[in-house]
């Protein structure tokens, strides 16, 4: 499920980076919409239409507003296939056609290198939910509005060292979107389509120290001063499934939790490698059944040790990516999908797990890219310590695969992308089509169709036969 969300995020992120998004308009440019051109004919040309750039004052006074990047987006999306999912003896689930998201979101990014060696950076969002949005009926927010600060950190760099303190994220691994090493940030499972990656990937208060060697190598170490956990899905959201049991946050009761880790990276000709080690808490809370008379499940946390290796290799148009993770003392019965399988039988066994994500990116030509990836994990020695007659829920190799194709046209203004994804067991299949169009210097429009097919025991079964259509209109400056 996490992968699903990240793929949605990834679509948007890659679009944002790939397309030639709006720029300042050259007011002096000549525009002739009815013009045509015969390449065999000789025509005069001069660069007067671009000449204004040479006349601009290059040392113009910097405005305080230059440090801001603002995007205002109107998003609407919904589930359009009215159907019912049959769970046999457990009953059925009605999935009517419904608008899920109808909101305005303002994303603000501030980045100011205010003195030599110093940087202050912050990002956040503010949302206004229209009546049809599922959040409009949420009692945990007031006035149909919500806001969140994501990044907010101070950075100081001097010589070979750099220090960052504040809310931020740490991304490990070569595979984008489904790396077994990208487990430091916690994730919010709320929407199928998001506007910004940080709508889903959440920041944590950290102190990070980077050391850059002279041989294209670097060490990056972090201490997470307040590890957080994946929040439960918001009631009413597309990813919420009502089990009749509440999934509360973990109550620290004054207990101090810390995470720490370090990564060494080095670039060689045609390749980058990384080694990492970290002491972490599993992002996904594990829930035990409620006490008698209560509807609140009992959240438990679990610390574990992560050892990792990552590498890539560029061979012509092909880029190979590889991540390897060894996790010591993870809870064998914890899953990544809250609300269903996290409420597992209390086996409470700590196990070791090995996981890998690997894949390739192939640049077909200047406009087209293809990427293929597989993530696979295996709990080691799964039967050890189990009472007679019990087995782990996942005692075989489990994971997922994905294929992504993108084609950008008109110097990146028009981008078509498709993503296919499924689990290795063949119980779920996810398909997404995206079309993103940059209309002019400030406006862009993105649209998406998402289809899910799934069967038990995949947790995605509650989205079986769902068809979602969404569109987002964005004004940025």
């Amino acid at each position: 499920m996490r992968l699903l969300l990240l793929l949605s995020c990834l679509d948007l992120v890659l679009v944002c980076n790939a397309r030639a998004v709006e720029a300042q308009q050259d007011q002096s440019s000549q525009t002739e919409t009815d013009a045509s051109y015969d390449p065999d004919a000789e025509f005069s040309f001069d660069d007067d239409i671009f000449a204004v750039a040479f006349d601009e004052e290059s040392t113009a006074e910097k405005s305080w507003f230059d440090d801001f990047t603002i995007r205002i987006s109107q998003q609407i999306s919904g589930q359009v296939n009215s159907h019912r999912i049959d769970f046999g003896a457990l009953g059925s689930l009605s999935k009517p056609t419904t608008v899920e998201n109808n909101r305005v979101q303002i994303n603000i990014r501030y980045q100011n290198a205010f003195a030599p060696g110093w940087l202050l950076q912050g990002t956040g969002w503010y949302r206004l939910y229209w009546d049809q949005d599922y959040m409009a009926g949420n009692t945990e927010i007031d006035s149909h509005t919500e806001s969140q600060i994501n990044d907010l950190f101070l950075q100081y760099s001097s010589g070979a060292h750099s220090f960052r303190f504040g809310n931020q994220t740490v991304v490990w691994g070569e595979m984008i979107g489904n790396s077994v090493l990208d487990v430091i940030n916690h994730i919010e499972f709320r929407d199928f389509t998001i506007i910004d990656i940080e709508d889903a990937r959440l920041n944590q208060p950290m102190l990070i120290w980077d050391y850059y060697g002279s041989d294209n190598s670097s060490f990056s170490s972090f201490i997470n001063l307040y590890p957080e956990f994946n929040p439960a899905p918001v009631r009413g959201s597309p990813l919420f499934f009502d089990t009749g049991i509440n999934l509360p946050d973990y109550n620290r009761s004054g207990k101090v939790l810390l995470e720490a880790g370090t990564q060494w990276k080095k670039s060689f000709a045609g390749s980058d490698i990384g080694l990492m080690v970290a002491y972490l808490y599993e992002n996904q809370l594990r829930y035990d059944p409620p006490d008698s008379g209560s509807v609140d499940a009992r959240p438990a946390i679990n610390d574990f040790l992560l050892l990792g290796f990552s590498a890539n290799r560029a061979i012509g148009r092909l880029l190979l990516n590889f991540d390897l993770a060894f996790s010591h003392n993870i809870l064998a019965n914890s899953f990544a999908f809250p609300g269903t399988s996290t409420l597992a039988a209390p086996v409470n066994l700590r196990k070791d797990q090995i996981g890998t994500s690997f894949g390739l990116e192939y640049s077909i030509d200047n406009e087209q890219d293809l990427s293929v990836g597989i993530q696979a994990q295996k709990i080691l020695d799964p039967d050890a310590g189990l009472p007679t007659g019990q087995t782990l829920v996942s005692d075989e190799i489990f994971g997922n695969w994905l294929i992504r194709y993108s084609n950008n046209l008109r110097n990146g203004d028009l981008l078509f992308s498709t993503t296919l994804q499924g689990d290795l067991e063949g119980d779920s299949f996810f398909a997404a089509l995206g079309l993103d169009y940059t209309l002019n210097d400030n406006w862009s429009l993105s649209s998406q169709i998402i289809s899910i097919t799934a069967s038990a025991p995949s947790p995605l079964v509650i989205f079986d036969q769902d068809l979602r259509i969404g569109a987002t209109l964005t004004f940025s400056f």
Partner: protein
């Protein structure tokens, strides 16, 4: 003032002093072969990218014709870029460069680091900083191996093949004729890639129109395997920058898609002291480091 700064200023003065001898220079030029002419052109290009700090504007649009003049048929999309480069290798034919997007706002901070090698046995290397993901990513494109395809430069009609220098030995080069372009005497030079280079190139041949006095390409025509012209490069604003003749405005027309991109070099400085550490992936991610180093470069220009 740094030693290198003095050096390039000196070379600029020297070239200026030699200007009256242009007639003699042209006489010498008359005896040059096609290969020697293109080597002089590339030497100019390399001089412009060595220890260089540039501010550029990259504009792209669909084009058409109005009153016999080529013009944008829509409002051009504009990217503002800042780049720093330095030549490496025994003959200075390898280049390391970093380019940062200043505008548009939504792409601000996106950066690209490129190591380009003259040796055809070595793949070029490119890393891209994806600000939304907060990480640097190696890119699978823009390589110089047998199977690779030239990569687009920031989504424009320029490709790495159009901007790369070197590997002239892998071409068959000959002077087709002497003619004029915009009142300037030029050689029309045909470059046909050899068997190995042909596999890497989109073009079956390129015709260059090289200014006989300044050794600057004023126009180029790129042909596909059917001998059809598919792209055309037009150079404007040829000026002497730091003692080197360069075109500050380059327009690449894609005759197939009817789109063009203009690369305008708004500011060009060479001979600046660029630290080797700056041309690493750190520059893409460590913003205060990058801004401090860029400020140091700007101070050298004052």
């Amino acid at each position: 003032m740094s030693t290198s700064r003095i050096l390039w200023l000196t070379s600029g003065i020297l070239l200026a002093w030699l200007e009256p001898w242009a007639g003699w220079n042209q006489a010498l030029a008359e005896s040059l072969s096609g290969l020697e002419i293109m080597e002089r052109v590339e030497a100019n290009d390399r001089a412009a990218s060595d220890s260089a700090f540039n501010r550029m504007q990259l504009s792209s649009c669909r084009y058409g014709v109005k009153d016999n003049r080529i013009t944008c048929a829509e409002r051009p999309r504009i990217k503002s870029l800042e780049s720093v480069g330095k030549n490496y290798g025994p003959e200075g034919k390898d280049t390391r460069s970093v380019t940062i997007v200043l505008e548009p706002a939504i792409e601000r901070g996106v950066g690209m680091l490129t190591y380009a090698y003259d040796d055809s046995e070595k793949d070029n290397e490119t890393w891209l900083y994806l600000s939304a993901l907060g990480r640097v990513k190696r890119i699978a494109s823009s390589n110089s191996d047998d199977d690779s395809e030239p990569a687009s430069v920031f989504g424009s009609e320029f490709t790495t093949e159009d901007t790369d220098t070197g590997k002239l030995d892998e071409y068959s080069i000959r002077i087709l004729e002497e003619t004029t372009i915009s009142g300037r005497d030029v050689w029309k030079i045909e470059m046909i890639p050899g068997e190995e280079q042909a596999r890497k190139s989109r073009y079956s041949k390129v015709n260059y129109y090289v200014d006989k006095e300044r050794f600057v390409t004023l126009r180029a025509e790129m042909f596909d395997q059917y001998d059809t012209e598919i792209k055309r490069l037009l150079a404007e604003r040829v000026e002497q920058v730091n003692g080197v003749w360069l075109a500050r405005s380059l327009t690449m027309m894609n005759l197939v898609s009817n789109r063009l991109s203009n690369m305008a070099f708004l500011e060009m400085y060479t001979g600046v002291e660029v630290e080797d550490d700056f041309l690493t992936t750190r520059t893409l991610t460590d913003v205060p480091f990058r801004e401090t180093e860029l400020e140091n470069l700007r101070l050298q220009l004052d």
